[in-house]
Symmetry: C2
Subunit: 212 residues, 2 copies
């Protein structure tokens, strides 16, 4: 079998160098360039850089929220599993409510998916939180509905739901941003939990692998 | 805000219908068409169908192994988190060794990454297992090395490592298949834990959302 790179530092350095060489990150404000790099690294597609939408303050607000101890609200267990705990600046709580026992009945009550019902359980944690959605368009749609009805604003919404029904639409609604809430979103069908986790990890620590 | 689909059954039906409409799955043997559908659904990209490599018996062998109670060996926690437990036919164990306390020292000893070292801990479970690799190219490379040194064969290797260093190369080595081990792999840089989990879920249950 051919030889392959086995040194983690060399792998990270070469990975991030490939992103820097192939992706045009010049349009990103400070910090968001690192978030874009981690997102690209998570999915192996340099071209997603061109589909990232964001508010100017998204990185600063999200990083500051984490530094101040804000919780991270995730729409599914996979997003939570991808958050690198040792990078979190304040042992931030990672909250996933999808499998709370109350969720199935709540979904029936509100006439929406379990993913949307799980968002209702975020209420007490929402103000100033970092929200990371990497799976369900209905979770993002329902969060935006709750904000329209006066729910407290998170510090930043990382919008990366994936798929063919509602993913592109929910992210377009987030990026239109009539609510004035800081956000990062990947336009279109693509997304996923690994990308959402990568965005959180960028807010936590940038690219620490390059200096470690 | 615009209305959106909130019914889970309708969302699944429309999602899978979109895949059926846009992707050409005619080249896939029975079962692998469902695996391809779940993989596409997990990443929102119909075009990955054209990059899926597989052995003819991969679905049959993988599904039979799970039905017989085989364990599922995952290279990272995210892959494990994405496996839908209620679809597993035999309450199959889902094993992730990456965070075993012995792994960092073992990585030093073998001069490879933690992901590769974690694969060494699969030894007792490897024979007839379903292997799902959704993150680290070094995990796949090292598994293939162990097989070359006589390790017992898994029933099927689901190869979906992602990224810019070794992902394409490790999957090409898997797909060349000099070891005669059943496999599914997504050629190129793309991959990821959600895709690897989706492949396992397909082996477990096909597309049960369409008949539930």
């Amino acid at each position: 079998m051919r030889p392959y790179e086995k040194d983690p530092k060399a792998i990270y350095a070469e990975s991030f160098a490939t992103v820097a060489r192939e992706a045009d990150l010049t349009r990103f404000p400070h910090g968001l360039d690192k978030l874009a790099t981690r997102v690209i690294h998570a999915c192996g597609m340099v071209e997603v850089a061109d589909r990232l939408a964001f508010s100017e303050q998204a990185f600063r607000k999200g990083a500051a929220a984490l530094a101040a101890g804000a919780p991270i609200l995730c729409d599914c267990e996979m997003v939570g599993a991808g958050i690198i705990r040792r990078y979190l600046p304040a042992e931030n709580p990672v909250i996933v409510t999808l499998n709370d026992p109350s969720v199935p009945a709540l979904a029936q009550t509100i006439g929406n998916t379990r993913s949307a019902a799980a968002v209702e359980l975020w209420a007490a944690h929402l103000e100033g939180a970092v929200v990371a959605i990497g799976n369900a368009p209905t979770a993002l749609f329902h969060l935006l509905e709750l904000l329209d009805h006066g729910a407290p604003k998170p510090a930043v919404i990382l919008g990366f739901p994936v798929g063919f029904v509602g993913a592109a639409e929910s992210k377009a609604e987030l990026a239109a941003n009539p609510r004035g809430c800081d956000f990062v979103a990947l336009r279109g069908r693509r997304g996923g939990s690994a990308i959402a986790s990568a965005a959180v990890n960028a807010l936590s620590a940038g690219l620490p692998e390059l200096v470690a």
